[in-house]
Symmetry: C2
Subunit: 469 residues, 2 copies
């Protein structure tokens, strides 16, 4: 990369918002995904869409790839740079622009922390449901890029279900606004939904218009423990069959329970094969009624214990058991690889058994937790990336897990994205024709392949891709 390019970026943003020294670049070489790391050439901090547009044009003129990131909490390598990339870090774009209580919308810059959106809505008696595990530090732009899920997916859906509009900078630097405050809008193709979950490969989302809900008036949290995973699975089926859609229906396996208890001390019984965390919310009498039914269903399906939170503090403690699962597991071995397969809900017990068999087959330490109600599993491989032999077995196990999920009609990623980690498996899921369709879309929106290259699929890189030096 020429010194002129840096000069142009400094002229645009000022020296404080352009990092080029190796020690400054290091934190931007990785995200939350194990074993991925690549230093970028420079990191810039734009303040608004006009600056993003300008820097995209500067990079494009020299065929320099642009990799967008927020807080870098991603779990599929979606924001890990490629060589010589310019990283656009949007964390400085962190203003909430508007809270419209009449239309129940909130407009925010892409760099706003997810938790701040939740809290701003909450303070106005409103509710932003998507709650990815990293919400205390993740940015809303990252959530939109990855279409993040969370613990409330079963009843409330995922990030996509709350994006009404967005400002997006395209590969040629043009700025588009997609969507509006209308609850219904069928004017033209739905391009907003195309950008959601496109992992920074089609455009750079700089602002989002979010839909909010009235805050549920009541909530009840329950924790049930089981001697077998099948009994837990039967409980979930019976709850749905009883026409109850809880907002949260999470599970932890024995290994996860042990790690969580060791880490967070929340009085989980260590001898249970499965723990379900269940939350129901809504109208107070509906919640009371549903909580009672859930308790009965859990007991009728062989729960060892059922704990109903007596107050908000106890509910928070029970939720902590699930929310701390990843951190608790991460303490056990040097490297934590968090899988994200999802299957139709009816196949979940089969999928869990398949993971247990795969752990045995490859002699690996795999804990399992996840969103039972969504069929979204997080088999978590506890390993050590310095151990080449073990890492080879991890590779084989990952492939087996993906094969098992696809064999059950599932997906290779429920909420973490394809990024780099799942790229080898995407065609197997989508089939030749659908996979080719993705590339047609990429070709039309980013023909030079400069936006977050190497993510989701390999896209032909132009000969002049390598920056001039």
């Amino acid at each position: 990369m020429s010194a002129e390019l840096i000069s142009e970026l400094v002229a645009l943003l000022g020296p404080a918002r352009v990092l080029t020294k190796k020690e400054d670049l290091i934190p931007y070489g990785f995200d939350g995904t194990a074993a991925l790391n690549q230093l970028p050439r420079a990191v810039v901090f734009p303040d608004n869409a006009a600056e993003v547009s300008a820097l995209v044009k500067i990079a494009r003129a020299r065929r320099m790839p642009v990799v967008t990131r927020g807080s870098g909490t991603g779990l599929s390598g979606g924001s890990v740079p490629v060589e010589n990339a310019l990283v656009a870090c949007l964390t400085g774009m962190n203003r909430i622009r508007e809270l419209d209580t009449r239309n129940l919308t909130l407009r925010a810059d892409a760099g706003v922390i997810t938790q701040k959106i939740f809290e701003t809505a909450d303070a106005a008696g409103l509710f932003y449901p998507p709650d990815p595990g990293s919400m205390k530090i993740s940015t809303i732009g990252g959530n939109v890029a990855e279409n993040s899920g969370g613990l409330r997916g079963l009843k409330y859906g995922v990030t996509r279900d709350y994006v009404m509009g967005m400002e997006v900078v395209l590969a040629d630097g043009s700025i588009c606004w997609l969507g509006n405050k209308c609850v219904k809008d069928v004017a033209g193709y739905n391009l907003r939904d195309l950008f959601i979950g496109s992992e920074g490969t089609l455009g750079i989302v700089t602002q989002v218009l979010l839909k909010l809900l009235p805050k549920p008036a009541a909530r009840q949290t329950l924790l049930a423990t089981y001697a077998s995973m099948d009994a837990a699975a039967e409980t979930v089926s019976a709850i749905i069959a009883a026409k109850i859609i809880p907002c949260t229906l999470e599970f932890l396996d024995r290994k996860t329970v042990q790690c969580v208890e060791d880490y967070a001390r929340v009085n989980l019984p260590l001898d249970s094969e499965a723990v379900l965390l269940i939350e129901t919310d809504g109208h107070p009498s509906a919640v009371a009624d549903e909580a009672q039914q859930i308790e009965q269903i859990a007991r009728a399906n062989g729960a060892l214990t059922v704990r109903k939170a007596r107050d908000a503090a106890e509910a928070a403690q029970l939720a902590t058991a699930r929310r701390s699962a990843f951190s608790a597991l991460a303490r056990r071995r040097p490297t934590t690889i968090l899988e994200d397969v999802t299957v139709p809900r009816s196949e979940l017990a089969k999928m869990i058994r398949a993971v247990q068999a795969i752990a045995l087959k490859h002699s690996l330490d795999i804990a399992v937790f996840g969103h039972f109600g969504d069929g979204n599993l997080h088999p978590t491989i506890l390993t050590d990336e310095r151990n080449a032999a073990e890492m080879h077995r991890v590779e084989l196990a990952l492939k087996d897990i993906v094969d098992a999920a696809l064999g059950l009609g599932g997906t290779i990623t429920g909420e973490h994205g394809v990024g780099v980690a799942k790229k080898p498996f995407l065609k197997q899921q989508l089939g030749e024709n659908s996979h080719a369709l993705l590339k047609m879309i990429k070709q039309s929106l980013d023909p030079l392949g400069l936006l977050n290259p190497g993510k989701i699929f390999d896209f032909p890189v132009q000969e002049n891709h390598t920056p001039k030096t």
Copy 2:
């Protein structure tokens, strides 16, 4: 079009499934939209995706446009043929393929009638919420192509919110399956949502996988009448502010009430300026509580009368008042032009006043009804297409209505689609850059412009577009 092309189609489908005589073609020259009519060159009735693929390839080889249709109930001209088009009518593809009660999904051919999907779900204790006005005759494929709305949009969303997957035939004849039964799936770009609402211009949807909900256990219907539209609007705001999201929140203006009463005799008070039809559903005690709150709110905001249905029969009668609005209005003058603008909910009262002023300005008979909770208005112009002078005033009024909606942050179409009717206004809403983006997508998926040409926007037609004769 050469005789060989017809021979090829007959060889593919048999003579009974290929119509070419003028008298047979007439019913396929129009849809539910006033004043649009164009005879196709032929109509074919494929039975499955493989036949759709084959006919697309036959048409493509001769650069013949393909226009897909179901029952032809569209209200924006989305299925009106162009000259020399081959119409693919999918009404013969009408099988429900699977009802999966464990995963709450239903898979159906594109030609299945919407009502049949609702009834099949209902019989299993499940619920398919989208209920477009034409659901008794519309096909699910048409609903997906137009992303149809309905009366339950406020609480339950629109067709898009219930499509988990689809089989689609692309412009080159290749067949793709997009989506699956997973509640969460972020593997690759969301192309399913791109095809939903693309009005047959990007591909031909041949099968859909739909999401179902547990059937709400209870429902309560109320009808409130008002001496002023503002009082009705205040009621709506107050209901939302009370954190109640009714499943239905519809309104009729005085003119619509009079026509409906004349047509359906449901005892509506003829002197009211506005009528609200409100339904709440869900858990029985929540419904009872909400219905009581709604009644109090309506009265506190000046309702003249509030009627609460005592039983399902009375509820059905009250809903008939709203469901028959279009038919009732259509009896009044020879030509009925149904507008479909939508504004943010907070702007709805302003928008209704704007429509009333526009009717006066252009001396037109305009009734207004629609989905108050969604901000989705149906100003209905009662006119006569044989009266050129009046039709000119209609043109001017339509433009004024669109200008007013866009001025309030609205959209030119909430649920009927762009089709031919709204094409002149699309760029005004989207802006230059977003409008150009649509064409980029079309260019990449249908570069010859053969799929439903002339809808949504004008796309450069190839020189060799005109079929060889």
